[in-house]
């Protein structure tokens, strides 16, 4: 039972694509050496041998994610991933769990919009057993009918349960409303309606269409012998039959025009949780480092303009932040915070004032220098463990980025001038066109927030789903 001073980026989301980085000014940080191999069946393998801790970390990215979910079956990619360990040709779900736990291993699988991630960790001494488990789940799942039903029922309840906490579901409502229920606006883990439309047949089909060596990137990092592991991988994953897959990508959706607002009514809420923003940048955007620098100043750290105004100066909230969730296609930008019911308008007004100030006054040379130093200083711990390194090199490979993301980062940060920052603010920080999503007690706040947008929508939090496209299409 402990109470932290601040949750780091409390409402921010995992910035999946914007794997932006920096390096210490005192010592140049380099990504540890690693090698890339393509197996005969087309599987891309990245190996990073790094000694010191006797753990081996696996991260496989299957280049099909929630984007490949059929319309109305949101959550299918995610379900498929979760079910990989729930019965294989060699093991029942119970046997898999017993074998995995016995060696203290971990195995996780889930889908984001752009790709599915299957990751695992084992002690080096258990590498052979661990790899056997990992390959078994990835290559030979059988999707037993009772396990599919069980998992679907659990996930349905998990969605319901998540709605008890406004903070947990704000992002889903925001993304849904922002994208009109299409593209990145479809819930990756599904909702109360879509999960009921998924069955064993759709899971098996999703697996058969999307899971293939040519559609997968596998990164392994940690304490192992490269040539030995390479041989082991050829013996196990090398047997995965090749097949051709055309991964489905999310459609590019343009930024919203004008202003619109969704009020999600949670009658027992004592605070309003809100998001404000628009569709913004994609992973690999040439401006990505400059965006990171400017957003650090605007909403990416404790002394950011947003947190200074809404928390430090006024005590309106426990935390305010802004984040770019860059992805294959233009992803969401959002400002996230919360405040007690009767200061909702004050907090939204103040948020908009801070955004306006960014546009009107720009940033100072002092702020710029501080943000550069902050990003560089905080970067090294983000690639400290084999787990982080495996995820990082696999993600960079997926987004078509290379080692210069780390190795050139210091130079790229240094290249951000006040002039570049000004251009980035104009180009990437929306001000006129904004989408608002509020989760809170509508009876207390709805009339007062009408002033923010001409177009308004409301829904009850208990109503199934988050925000669906009116025509039911992707």
């Amino acid at each position: 039972m402990s109470s932290p001073r601040n949750f780091v980026r409390i409402l921010a989301i995992v910035v999946a694509g914007l794997l932006v980085t920096a390096i210490s000014s005192a010592q140049t940080i380099k990504i540890p050496p690693h090698e890339k191999i393509v197996l005969k069946n087309g599987l891309t393998v990245l190996l990073m041998e790094k000694h010191g801790v006797p753990i081996v970390s696996f991260a496989a990215l299957v280049k099909s994610g929630a984007a490949a979910d059929p319309a109305g079956q949101e959550g299918l990619a995610s379900q498929t991933a979760e079910l990989l360990r729930k019965g294989t040709q060699k093991r029942t779900a119970q046997q898999f769990a017993a074998d995995l736990d016995f060696i203290g291993g971990s195995f996780e699988a889930g889908a984001g919009a752009d790709f599915t991630t299957v990751s695992a960790e084992f002690l080096t001494k258990d590498l052979a057993k661990g790899l056997d488990l990992f390959a078994d789940a990835l290559l030979h799942p059988t999707f037993p009918a009772d396990e599919v039903d069980k998992s679907l029922a659990q996930n349905l309840d998990a969605v319901r349960g998540s709605k008890d906490e406004a903070r947990q579901v704000l992002r889903l409502y925001y993304y849904g409303y922002l994208y009109g229920g299409r593209g990145y606006g479809r819930p990756e883990d599904g909702d109360e309606i879509s999960l009921k439309k998924i069955n064993r047949e759709s899971v098996v089909k999703f697996y058969e269409v999307n899971y293939a060596p040519g559609n997968t990137i596998l990164a392994v990092a940690g304490e192992f012998n490269t040539s030995e592991l390479r041989k082991r991988l050829e013996d196990t994953l090398g047997s995965w039959p090749a097949k051709s897959v055309t991964p489905e990508t999310v459609p590019a959706i343009a930024a919203a025009k004008g202003k619109r607002l969704l009020m999600v009514d949670k009658p027992d809420a004592t605070q309003t949780y809100f998001a404000i923003g628009n569709v913004e940048t994609a992973a690999g955007d040439p401006d990505r480092v400059a965006i990171r620098v400017v957003n650090t100043i605007f909403g990416g750290r404790f002394t950011s303009m947003l947190n200074e105004a809404l928390r430090v100066e006024s005590g309106l909230t426990y935390g305010a932040s802004a984040a770019f969730d860059a992805r294959k296609q233009p992803g969401p930008f959002g400002i996230y915070t919360f405040t007690k019911n009767d200061s909702t308008v004050q907090a939204i007004d103040m948020t908009l004032e801070v955004l306006h100030k960014l546009h009107k006054d720009g940033i100072t040379a002092e702020q710029l220098a501080s943000a550069k130093s902050y990003i560089k200083g905080q970067f090294p711990p983000s690639i400290e463990t084999s787990r982080e390194l495996a995820q990082r090199i696999a993600g960079d490979e997926f987004y078509g980025l290379d080692d210069s993301e780390v190795n050139q980062l210091e130079a790229r940060i240094d290249a951000v001038t006040l002039d570049v920052a000004r251009q980035v603010i104009q180009k990437h920080f929306p001000e006129e066109n904004l989408v608002f999503v509020l989760v809170g007690k509508a009876s207390a706040i709805a009339p007062a927030v009408k002033k923010y947008a001409d177009k308004q929508d409301t829904r009850a939090i208990a109503a199934p789903g988050f925000w669906q496209a009116a025509d039911g299409k992707k």
């Binding site: 932290p4 659990q154 406004a166 905080q378």
Partner: protein
Amino acid sequence: MAAALLLCATGLVSPLVRAQEQKFPVATKTLKNGMKVLVQSDHSIPNVALYIFYRVGSRNERPGTTGLSHFFEHMMFNGAKKYGPGDLDKVMEAHGGSNNAYTSQDVTVYQDWFPRSTMPLIFDIEADRIENLSFDPAKIKSEREVVASERRLSVDNENGGVLNEQLWATAFIAHTYQWPVVGWMSDIEHWTMEDLKHHFAMGYSPSNATMVVVGDVSSEEVFQLCEKFIEPIPAHAPPPPVTTVEPEQLGERRLVVHKEAQLPLLMIAYHVPQTKNEDFYALNILRTVLFEGESSRMYQRLVDKEQIALEVSSELPPAFDPTLAVVIAQPKQGVDPQKCEKAIYEELERAKSAAITDQELEKAKNIRLMEFYQQMRTINGRANTIGTYEVFFGDYNKLFDAAKNYGAVSKEDVQRVAKMYFGANNRTVATLLPENDGQAKQ
């Protein structure tokens, strides 16, 4: 030891032996003012994690000022003599550093993460606030609102937060673990400047603190900085001892929270000894067998076979005084929490009536071993773990004995602690029941 021999016999290098070999050298020094400093050099990244543990938390509070330790922790960022309001964060971030802090029932912990070149500045900042914290009435006012917002976030708007608070308040009738770390809302609204000053004087003597520094540093340079910045700060009396001993619980206690919710929630708490007690290791092995991983007995029973719960887990916080082991079950929608309760009791009875298997014991030890490496693989994890062992076990060396101590736990020990602590008279049962009966409005 038995496990180490067993694994050696299979022809593998014993991981337990290896864990003990991986004894990260820790340099220690006790400053003249009583603060103990522990340093562990690691040059794998050019960064440093610095933790200061103060042995003061909500257990040192009184009715009327509950949550004061946590509020005080917030005030430690709001200005001192050299670094005024807002300066601490601004200066630290401008030099590539970041910080956070947390408060528990027993301790208040300050954390700094920074590139190595920033270390002298960090010491200057830490010394300034330990010695010369200022109490600006305007900052107190706005920070009070921040903490109120934090409470709404973590308690009011989170079912687990509400139920957990009620659980501890019911399980303890005498000891100060009975109130929430964040404090009751009415106390948050009513602290005075005098309360804050008193808390500072009570809890923040250097002699009441332990500093841990891990990363790209040498112990010599850390000790030099300590001598310059920290050692001159005078020591004063430590917090008065918490003398209240929770009387033995003589029968089951039950409470219900009615709240608008989609799903019910169940928590069952049992009084167990403090961290330093020798049963700590056996209790953790029991928890591992019952709750950790999808092969655990509770997961298999409640989530997998009977499908009455979405999740089932347990918690055992580090504690100076006898505390609670808490079982948390998330029943599925429409499932009567008592159904989960019954299944949990039956599994506990099974652990009492027969010893766990050899396989389960070995599995639990392997899981603990993996956990050891996962905690120790980052400079941050190591600073936190070294400090936690030093403060709660009384000696950081216990960290390196953990594998040995887990290895020494027998099946009989596990059965004994199951019988000793998990009885009906020793439990408090908290249930959250959805007011709308879990029916989603269409």
